[in-house]
Symmetry: C2
């Protein structure tokens, strides 16, 4: 085959937003790692959540092939974005190339990630504390977005990070803030689902907040909403959410 012109488009804010949503709305991902014995690329499936700074996190068993691989070589990539109906290649997907760092059990970081992970993956409470299970933070280095046929973009790792001095405070107060919001507006999640044209109705709950937006979950569906500008604290996030739910369109 002859050399071809580059099919990569210039990365704009729409591409960045789509990439963030594809990464932050994933319940699971295909992870590619290097087989520690042969160097073969190895693909498997992992559960995914995001830390408060947007870094994807995975919960894995020490017995799994991908964990052994990451212990030897931290290079990995995550494929996120579900195929949906019709041609699987017509749907957006994102490859995020990352460096994996294991999260020390008992650390403040571990507690924060564990809480955020369980908010998204409630059933993981059955095994999250097993001694052979551990978290890795996968720090994005670069990403390739395919927004559908012929719509390819390259992003930097930073494009997928949430850089805010408020991260720690927001993570610490997130549970309380969401509880207060739901107490004031018991229908807030269902109202958001309608406003945001969710794929299904019923049983929605807010399962994560961060300066860049919020996550809602209903059964197997995760919905990610990105704010136009970063929120400054948890009150600001809840005020943003209320506006999206209740402002007159």
């Amino acid at each position: 085959m002859k050399d071809q012109p580059s099919p990569i488009r210039e990365t704009d804010d729409d591409a960045r937003k789509l990439a963030r949503v594809l990464l932050r709305s994933a319940r699971h991902a295909a992870i590619a790692v290097l087989d520690p014995e042969t160097g073969f690329p190895f693909a498997s499936r992992v559960l995914v959540a995001t830390d408060i700074d947007g870094t994807p996190v995975i919960l894995v068993s020490a017995l799994s092939a991908h964990t052994k691989a990451l212990q030897k070589d931290p290079r990995a990539s995550l494929l996120t974005g579900e195929p949906g109906k019709g041609d699987p290649l017509a749907h957006g997907r994102l490859t995020t190339q990352c460096l994996a760092v294991s999260v020390e059990r008992g650390s403040t970081l571990h507690e924060r990630i564990r809480t955020r992970f369980l908010n998204r993956h409630a059933k993981a409470k059955l095994y999250i504390d097993f001694p052979d299970f551990c978290f890795f933070r996968l720090t994005p280095q670069q990403a390739s977005l395919n927004g559908g046929f012929g719509r390819a973009y390259i992003l930097s790792g930073n494009d997928l990070m949430i850089e805010s001095a408020a991260n720690e405070e927001i993570a610490a107060k997130a549970g309380e803030a969401v509880r207060d919001l739901v107490e004031r507006h018991p229908d807030v999640a269902e109202t958001l689902a309608i406003r945001l044209k969710a794929r299904k109705m019923g049983s929605w709950r807010i399962c994560g907040i961060d300066p860049a937006g919020f996550d809602m979950i209903s059964g197997d569906f995760l919905l990610r909403y990105e704010f136009d500008v970063l929120a400054t604290d948890s009150d600001d996030i809840c005020s943003n959410i209320s506006k999206i739910a209740y402002s007159i369109p």
Copy 2:
């Protein structure tokens, strides 16, 4: 983390059958390759079909990152098996480690793969003949089956191949054989869908046959059925299919 006992079970016929079905019923897969510049593992999405001998085949654009990677290093792995409802890790999935070989355009092999691919992916006719599109056969070297939590198996590449002297003849006569079968039994696909408890009803058609079984498709759903023993020719396959559809249970 300490060394753990091996979680790998002994591979039996049930595991082999599950692995074959997970590979042969995939419309798309995550493919892991090696980034040609950095050696980073890279995961992306590809459309998949199978050649007559069970070898998975992918149709890719020369402009894509995975094609450039495979041109430099043929090592790849395919992740197949959809997450389905509930915990994504409760559903079976298969990692097939393969060596990629490109298929020469204009060869008999290319024509056979093109025909089989279009039978499964009818919409690919829009781009299958574009000059920058090509097929790779991905010859399985080894595979890791995860049949759900704690059910892990290692398979050989041969476990996923269909070794039959009848392959060529069956591939050549497949189209005619299926047309004849449907002419005799216009309701055969719908009857099979009911018998095989397909996930949905309506619009099923047989989209592929080989000595080990047959594939049916309806919209986004692909159903793979594996025979108990390899069929000897296309008549034998059609007779097997008729029995499954119409024998008194």
